[in-house]
């Protein structure tokens, strides 16, 4: 649970899990959807049942008309048996009555005992639907239908046929429809929720797997995440793997530097100890002491530098080589002001590299300082990029390769403590950084007559 402190009062924000979020949202949507469907289905059913009833009533009217006859006296008689048996059964819920000029002419047997006051006279060929209340709390849907009967003598007789049906029948059908509707919809809803939950579990499984995988890394069971993750997670797991690899190589570098440091410090220390035991000339002891101290200090610097090298990683943001080169040259111009050095920079605009800024400062700083130190008056820097590589060329007009090559032959894995004493560590650091970035460096005669260092580094 995350607690966010607001301006006036602390507001608590519950941090739902992903599956809870989806489940809650889907349940809400599903409930709303099913509820609305139920309401509209119910309404549709109800109105169709009512329509059906009206149609039925009209059919009854026609049935009655077919069965009715006018006798010689001009009286209306029901001759045939009525096709609908409900008319004959008392209290069947279906009632009929024919009136003429306000008087009941005929009543269906089912209506006997009921006083059906059905005073509707809609007029000839008109139909009129109403709901009427009768004694005993019964509600009837009534159709009043007006007819004009022309006798053989040409006399016109007005009749109103009322057919009424008990509304409780329609209510019952609706209720039973509603019941089954709710059962079905509820069942479907539950099924959908269950399916949703299963789908969710299945789709979120890779996330759980990643978490488990990460935990296994924490406990040291594996070193990397495995590669079989869905496409959506692949970017993430690949990045985590890159980070892990980077960390691992850095840890290895720390370990190596520490071991190298401890190892390489032992030489000057034992030399000094030996001198302290055997040398009785204070002056020479002093100079020996200084020499070994210098050596120790250089070793510490160098190994510290090596340990702090970040090294290649695809996760590092791009850094602009031009910006770093300009800053370093600005600094070197200050420090070497007396030498009045002319520098020339040709830096491509897209000379950038995904690397640690500190590493690039170190690499370029040492290369450029070397050029400033050994040049006569001119230093030339060119940075170009082609494809996935950036190329940096640092040239000077100082003493050429033969005189300098000896002290600056750069080899892979060349360790400072195996070099002759008194050498600077600048180029050893340069070579280490280039190695950490899987690049390469070589030295050739430059156009200015001095040395020309060419460094090539992969961009990512």
């Amino acid at each position: 649970m995350v607690v966010v402190t607001g301006l006036t009062c602390p507001v608590k924000v519950i941090n739902f899990s992903l599956s809870n979020r989806v489940l809650v949202a889907v349940s809400l949507v599903l409930t709303a959807f099913l509820g609305l469907s139920a309401i509209s289905l119910n309404n549709a059913f109800k109105s169709s049942a009512e329509l059906e009833q009206k149609k039925r009533l009209k059919n009854y009217v026609y049935t009655l008309l077919t069965a009715a006859e006018i006798n010689d006296k001009g009286e209306l008689k029901m001759t045939h048996d009525l096709a609908e048996p409900k008319f004959s059964i008392p209290n069947s819920g279906l009632y009929a009555q024919i009136t003429s000029s306000g008087k009941i002419v005929w009543q269906s047997p089912s209506a006997i005992g009921h006083f059906l006051s059905l005073p509707f006279q809609p007029g000839p060929s008109n139909e009129h639907y109403t709901v009427v209340d009768v004694d005993g709390g019964m509600k009837l849907q009534n159709l009043a239908f007006g007819i004009v009967w022309e006798t053989e003598t040409g006399k016109e007789l007005d009749y109103t046929i009322n057919v009424a049906e008990d509304m409780s029948t329609i209510k019952e059908t609706t209720a039973s429809f509603q019941r089954s509707l709710w059962y079905w919809l509820g069942g479907t809803g539950l099924m959908l929720l269950l399916a949703q939950w299963l789908i969710l579990k299945w789709s979120l499984r890779p996330l759980h797997d990643v978490a488990k995988d990460l935990h296994a890394i924490e406990t040291g069971e594996h070193h990397r995440l495995n590669d079989e993750y869905p496409r959506e997670l692949k970017q993430l797991t690949n990045n985590i793997n890159a980070l892990l690899d980077h960390e691992q190589s850095r840890r290895q570098r720390y370990k190596n530097s520490l071991a190298d440091l401890a190892h390489s410090l032992k030489t000057p220390l034992s030399v000094f100890r030996g001198e302290l035991a055997n040398n009785h000339d204070l002056q020479s002891l002093k100079s020996m002491g200084y020499e070994q101290l210098d050596r120790i200090s250089t070793l510490v610097d160098y190994q510290l530098q090596r340990a702090s090298t970040e090294g290649k990683s695809s996760l590092l943001a791009p850094v602009s080589l031009g910006e770093i080169i300009h800053k370093i040259i600005g600094s070197l111009d200050k420090v070497y002001k007396n030498k009045a050095i002319r520098h020339q920079c040709e830096i491509e605009r897209d000379a950038y590299i995904h690397a640690d800024e500190g590493d690039m400062y170190e690499l370029l700083g040492n290369l450029l300082e070397n050029a400033y130190k050994y040049c006569k008056h001119q230093v030339h820097v060119i940075a170009t990029s082609s494809g996935n590589m950036v190329k940096i060329r640092v040239e000077d007009d100082g003493a050429g390769i033969p005189t300098r090559a000896e002290s600056y032959i750069i080899k892979r894995g060349h360790r400072i403590d195996t070099q002759a004493e008194g050498q600077g560590i600048g180029l050893a650091i340069v070579s280490d950084i280039i190695m950490a970035y899987e690049g390469n460096i070589h030295l050739e005669r430059g156009r200015l007559g001095g040395a020309s260092f060419i460094v090539e580094l992969p961009r990512i």
Partner: protein, 227 residues
């Protein structure tokens, strides 16, 4: 030549102060950035040596404030951090040079001398005017290649006059640049030193190296030699 030293580590501060004094430099040493800022803006220094990791006000902030206030004397950074990013940051803040700890005292002295020379327009490691040459590294003064023996204050005085050869320098300015902050100052003593310098550098009164401009000060009147 007067130097400001801002270094929080007591032993190193004392060692550097001692070394600088042995090289006949006038030194004011303080232990934190705030004091450094006060001293640096209060007294006329020729060079400042500033450690980067200072309490109260960091070295970088101290340099930035001094430069912002318009003080343009050369500043040398002392730092334990040898990474280039730190060096560039220090130099961009307004310093002129840097020295990574641990360092040789000779190296420190050489850098200070180089910075002060550069600031007053000298490009050679030795200061030569006419027949007189002063070597700040060895603290030797020669005339026609013959050694001239000078006392500490005479040397300081000559060093300052040579650095600013051709400029008129007041007695107060001379006092400020050869005495430490907590020393008794008596500007009349300057006259005595000048008189002694004249007699040592020009015993037969033919060269007249130091001119007195009444009411204004002194001027070293020999041409700067560049070789």
């Amino acid at each position: 030549m007067r130097v400001l030293l801002v270094e929080d580590e007591k032993h190193l501060r004392e060692q550097i102060t001692q070394q600088l004094k042995q090289h006949n430099l006038t030194v004011d040493a303080v232990a934190d950035g705030d004091e450094g800022l006060f001293m640096g803006s209060e007294y006329p220094y020729d060079v400042a040596i500033i450690d980067l990791g200072l309490p109260k006000l960091s070295g970088i902030e101290l340099i930035q404030s001094l430069r912002k206030q318009g003080f343009d004397y050369p500043i040398l950074i002392l730092t334990a951090r040898s990474r280039w990013q730190d060096k560039v940051e220090g130099l961009e803040s307004g310093a002129d040079d840097y020295l990574v700890k641990p360092f040789h005292f000779e190296e420190l002295i050489a850098r200070i001398n180089a910075l002060s020379r550069r600031a007053s327009g000298w490009s050679n490691p030795t200061l030569s005017c006419g027949p007189i040459t002063l070597n700040p590294a060895t603290q030797e003064v020669t005339k026609h290649d013959e050694l001239v023996e000078l006392t500490a204050y005479e040397y300081r005085l000559l060093h300052y006059l040579l650095l600013h050869a051709g400029e008129v320098i007041s007695k107060t300015e001379l006092t400020d640049h050869i005495y430490e902050q907590d020393q008794d100052r008596d500007s009349n003593v300057i006259e005595v030193f000048v008189k002694r310098l004249r007699s040592k550098l020009d015993p037969d009164k033919q060269l007249n190296p130091i001119e007195t401009l009444r009411g204004r000060g002194y001027r070293l009147n020999l041409p700067r030699e560049s070789h």
